[in-house]
């Protein structure tokens, strides 16, 4: 008997060793496969915007100016920025970029307290530069012009004053520069100047208000009508106002909508563009029931009819894509890791095809855009690890090839290890979310138990029972019960997760012959776990 027992045990041990060896062998193969695919995957993936190029760094600048300027002509892409590390010692720098290389770099004004750079180009290839300069002796508005290739320039002061001046903006039409700014003479008023080949030919004051008129923007249409919009800070808040110059006279300002002090403080301005319906304006403001800036858009017809401002997207610093056949916007949006740069098309009162152009975890801000040969070239600032800020650019002319792995959010350098990591982390997180939904499971389970008392429902097939449990649980989540849900990733992914959880629960439970409370509880938990697992996948990829 004893011998028989020992013999039996030795057989069992031998079997155990074989199973262990088999498991070890399988694990070794799995680990070799995983490790052979790469040294290691990152714990998040940069989801690249499809149809867009690689992001290229261009040059280092500062953030002291509210914006940098970019324009394009046959000579290349021209940039005007204020560079430096101290706001009283900034260099006004012009750069000509060709094939992502800086071909010309000229410091037009060195070591000054400078602000509001503007760069305009004419059809002959001339460059027109305007900026504001402050000094203890007074404040000046400056003008400079030069050609390509650069052979030299001379700076002119076209307006000198002891008044506070700020927010210079301009628009170039041929050799004429249309300039607007805000000047404090008693109260802040909006002023307008016209400079023809360096000569001041007109100087006018647009506003006559006891409120603060600041942040003007200007655009000129094909008929030569000058359109100006600005922000007026009143006791009741900030208003966006608009006026145009008809027969050398400024029309009565029209109120377009509400602005925001927050946007003024952050250096925001009003973007202007010409459309078939007149002039479109985009700016940032706080919605009535919110405390975060949204991009708003309104249009003014040539007859002065104003459309109701529409909140388009969370963000600020909107720029229109001037010259594009369709109304398009680029703006500084709010993303998971801070500010990001977004692009969208404006159609029938809303933005469509909204794309985040900035990938990764580095905040990107102050976008500028040019429309060139039917394509978009978008530039923005990103902070450097050392110090300073770098201008980066992306375009949709030379799209980056995206592998299938990258397309689905998996690191192409180590796909298997990333999938394995994603699987493990998602299943762990799904378990946590399932526990967070215990209340929903209890309420849903009770409701299902009540329905199940009826024979009509009790005798239904398993697939129906699972679908019913899924529907009850999704509805129960809206009840005031403590619960947790993954981020919403669109209706398609939600639907896919819902259906996959039902199918998965059915596949696992289809061979269970017993039907009772325990099986029903298992179905409830299993469906919830699978639903959370599938719903969490994109969230875990982006984390």
């Amino acid at each position: 008997m004893q011998e028989h027992y020992l013999w039996q045990r030795s057989i069992t041990s031998a079997k155990g060793v074989r199973i262990l060896r088999k498991t070890k062998f399988l694990l070794t193969i799995l680990m070799t496969l995983l490790l052979a695919t790469g040294v290691g995957a990152r714990d998040y993936i940069e989801v690249w915007p499809e149809g867009w190029s690689e992001v290229s760094p261009l040059f280092t600048t500062s953030i002291f100016a509210d914006r940098f300027f970019v324009d394009h002509d046959q000579a290349g892409t021209s940039f005007l920025s204020m560079d430096g590390l101290y706001f009283k010692e900034l260099d006004l720098t012009y750069r000509l970029v060709r094939d992502a290389q800086v071909n010309e770099e000229v410091v037009l004004r060195a070591k000054g307290e400078l602000a509001n750079p503007f760069l305009g180009l004419d059809q002959k290839g001339n460059r027109y530069v305007l900026w504001l300069e402050r000094s203890p002796e007074g404040n000046t508005l400056n003008y400079s012009t030069f050609g390509v290739p650069y052979t030299g320039h001379k700076n002119h002061v076209f307006w000198e004053t002891n008044n506070i001046v700020q927010d210079l903006a301009a628009f170039q039409v041929g050799e004429i520069s249309h300039v607007v700014w805000s000047e404090r003479e008693g109260y802040f008023q909006i002023r307008y100047a016209q400079i023809d080949q360096g000569q001041l030919v007109a100087m006018e004051t647009i506003t006559n208000s006891t409120d603060l008129s600041v942040r003007p923007s200007v655009i000129v249409d094909k008929q030569g009508v000058v359109h100006v919009a600005w922000m007026e800070t009143t006791d009741l808040g900030v208003q966006i106002q608009y006026s145009k110059r008809v027969a050398d006279r400024w029309t009565q300002p029209l109120k377009i909508g509400s602005g925001s002090v927050q946007d003024i403080q952050q250096g925001g301005s009003i973007a202007l563009t010409l459309t078939s319906q007149g002039v479109a304006l985009a700016w940032a403001a706080l919605p009535k029931s919110g405390n975060r800036l949204f991009v708003y858009l309104a249009q003014v017809s040539p007859q002065g009819e104003i459309t109701t401002p529409t909140a388009l997207a969370l963000g600020s610093r909107a720029r229109f894509v001037n010259g594009a056949p369709q109304l398009q916007l680029v703006w500084q949006g709010v993303g998971r890791f801070g500010s990001e740069v977004n692009h969208g098309n404006y159609e029938e009162g809303r933005l469509t095809d909204v794309t985040n152009l900035t990938v990764g975890r580095k905040a990107a801000f102050r976008p500028e855009v040019i429309y060139r040969d039917g394509h978009l070239y978008i530039y923005w600032l990103q902070a450097q690890a050392e110090r300073g800020y770098e201008v980066y650019g992306i375009n949709n002319q030379f799209p980056k090839t995206i592998s299938l792995w990258r397309k689905v959010g998996i690191d192409e350098t180590a796909p298997l290890i990333h999938v394995f990591f994603l699987f493990v982390s998602t299943i762990m997180l799904a378990s946590v979310y399932t526990i967070m939904n215990l209340g929903v499971l209890v309420v849903g389970g009770l409701a299902y138990g009540l329905i199940h008392r009826s024979e009509k429902y009790k005798n239904q097939p398993l697939f129906y029972q699972i679908a019913l449990i899924a529907a009850i649980l999704t509805v129960a989540r809206y009840l005031p019960i403590p619960s947790g849900s993954p981020q919403f990733f669109g209706l398609i992914h939600y639907g896919v997760s819902f259906v996959l959880a039902i199918m998965g629960t059915y596949l696992i439970m289809r061979n269970v012959r017993q039907r009772g409370t325990f099986v029903n509880i298992t179905i409830l938990f299993l469906w919830m776990l699978l639903f959370q697992f599938f719903a969490l996948i994109p969230q875990n990829i982006l984390q």
């Binding site: 989801v47 499809e50 998971r336 985040n356 299938l404 397309k407 689905v408 959010g409 998996i410 999938v419 994603l422 699987f423 299943i427 329905i451 009509k456 429902y457 239904q460 129906y464 679908a467 019913l468 529907a471 009850i472 999704t474 509805v475 809206y478 981020q487 919403f488 990733f489 669109g490 209706l491 398609i492 992914h493 939600y494 896919v496 997760s497 996959l500 199918m503 998965g504 596949l507 696992i508 061979n511 699978l530 697992f533 599938f534 996948i537 994109p538 969230q539 990829i541 982006l542």
Partner: protein, 60 residues
């Protein structure tokens, strides 16, 4: 019994990995989804689905 256990483990793995593959396929076909605000009318869609499911046995 042992075969049944392996079958169950296989089914569970198939459900998780197969589901993962199908989710990836949906990303490949429709583009990678980005976080968005929940659709306010979604609750009505889910309520309608529940009502439809509850109604099926009554009309069978």
């Amino acid at each position: 019994m042992k075969t049944q256990t392996w079958k169950t483990v296989g089914t569970i793995l198939l459900v998780f990995f197969g589901g993962l593959a199908l989710v990836f396929a949906s990303f490949a076909l429709t583009g990678f989804p980005f976080p968005s605000e929940t659709i306010p009318n979604l609750i009505w869609v889910e309520l309608v689905l529940l009502v439809v499911l509850l109604g099926i046995p009554l009309f069978r």
